[in-house]
């Protein structure tokens, strides 16, 4: 029962790496970013942006090497036969390539984005109706990226990752099962103690960048 879990402690701020410092300092000074101050995004973000913006096949190969073996284990765990698992891995990775234009690092992480593609794909295989998904928000890729938002998003995720790592193994197991779709319901609730509030606020900021698209949605 997750509602017996103690709430997680507030994670400590891991601090900024030097490259991030220079970016933030640059932004605070009101200077534009120059080449030397390319922000230090994490590897997955860099690969994903290279795929999205440059259709970079070697970056895609790196994404494949990282995610494909994990995806295979992940979908087998959540009830797919080993035979079908590679078919799903293939579909998911091809979707990553084909739909890369929808990836928005201001509000998402590569792994989160791929997770959602994989769950959709798996569920579609079990259902006669396609899994209903929210309307996609159109990204305007000509908009200037906001490195400080992207880095802040990565930091929030880093803190959540640390918090998860501090959970007792059985608690982490329950959360894993929940997000794999192994549990049917009762344990997934706000009572997991997962500190999602700050991440949600950060994602909201990312969504507000798209406000021009969100207008008229109400």
């Amino acid at each position: 029962m997750l509602d017996t879990l103690a709430p997680l402690e507030k994670p400590v701020n891991p601090g900024l790496r030097s490259g991030q410092m220079s970016v933030l300092a640059g932004l605070m000074d009101g200077d534009g970013l120059n080449e030397a101050e390319t922000p230090e995004f994490n590897d997955q973000t860099i690969w994903m942006l290279a795929v999205r913006d440059k259709r970079d096949r070697s970056a895609f190969a790196l994404l494949f090497d990282y995610f494909a073996p994990r995806l295979k284990a992940f979908v087998i765990r959540s009830g797919t036969s080993a035979g079908q698992a590679e078919e799903i891995v293939q579909d998911v990775m091809l979707t990553v390539w084909r739909k890369a234009a929808l990836f928005d690092p201001h509000r998402s992480q590569t792994s989160a984005w791929i997770y959602q593609i994989a769950r959709n794909r798996q569920i579609d295989l079990f259902r006669k109706n396609r899994r209903p998904v929210p309307e996609e928000l159109d990204l305007d890729l000509s908009d200037e990226p906001d490195p400080s938002q992207i880095i802040a998003m990565e930091q929030e995720v880093g803190q959540l990752k640390d918090a998860l790592a501090r959970l007792k193994p059985n608690q982490r197991e329950i959360i894993e099962q929940a997000y794999l779709g192994e549990l049917t319901h009762q344990e997934i609730s706000t009572q997991t103690g997962l500190p999602l509030g700050t991440i949600k606020s950060r994602i909201r900021l990312g969504l507000e960048r798209l406000r021009h698209d969100l207008k008229g949605m109400r």
Partner: protein
């Protein structure tokens, strides 16, 4: 337009993210998120957790040719997936359920109309059209019922529900929703059928209502 004030409870959202909801319920949740930045952010937060689980997953060996097969397909032409956009008051997921066509309304009397979008063993989904000032007819939901307002508004003992608002009701809620004056109220409503009542409802309600 007033802001959305009734959102998807987080337990329901977490189950949507994990893929645990019957079709009709997940369609209502997807339609609400299409209208609601707040719930979209919360859903994407759940995806972050799912993504971290993926990063932490063990690794399974791949067939030797899988990577090359995938790389070889990057340039393949793919038939574009049918993609339904919002049309008028109907968000994309509702247009998908309507297969892009306008609703086929059937009269229920007193000016009330319905259009059934799906009905299967574990859930049913329909659009309801309720003229201003009219009460929703006895719609006897045995289990969980989700109602999303798409046009106009309705009120019941628990409050007022305008465009984008989601009402979550269980069989214990005695309510008589009545369409407010103004535009006719059009809602998207999902219920679970009696067949699945025993299995799905207690699970869905436990975290929501602390049974």
């Amino acid at each position: 337009m007033t802001a959305i004030t009734h959102h998807v409870p987080d337990a329901l959202l977490a189950n949507y993210a994990a893929g645990n909801l019957p079709y009709a319920f997940s369609l209502v949740v997807a339609a609400h998120i299409s209208l609601c930045t707040e719930c979209r952010a919360q859903l994407e937060a759940h995806h972050v957790v799912g993504g971290l689980m993926l990063e932490n997953a063990s690794k399974e060996d791949l067939s030797a040719d899988l990577k090359n097969n995938v790389l070889a397909q990057l340039d393949d032409a793919v038939a574009p997936q049918e993609h339904y956009r919002r049309s008028g008051i109907y968000p994309g997921p509702v247009m998908e359920a309507l297969k892009g066509k306008p609703p086929r309304w059937k009269s229920l009397g007193l000016g009330v109309r319905q259009s059934i979008l799906s009905a299967d063993h574990d859930s049913s989904l329909r659009l309801l059209y309720i003229p201003a000032g009219t009460a929703v007819p006895d719609h006897s939901h045995n289990g969980l019922e989700l109602t999303l307002v798409l046009q106009g508004s309705f009120s019941d003992d628990t409050g007022r529900f305008g465009v984008g608002d989601l009402e979550v009701a269980d069989q214990h809620l005695e309510h008589t929703p009545t369409a407010d004056p103004g535009d006719a109220c059009i809602c998207l409503a999902a219920t679970d059928s009696p067949l699945r009542f025993r299995s799905i409802v207690p699970r869905l309600l436990q975290p929501l209502f602390r049974i």
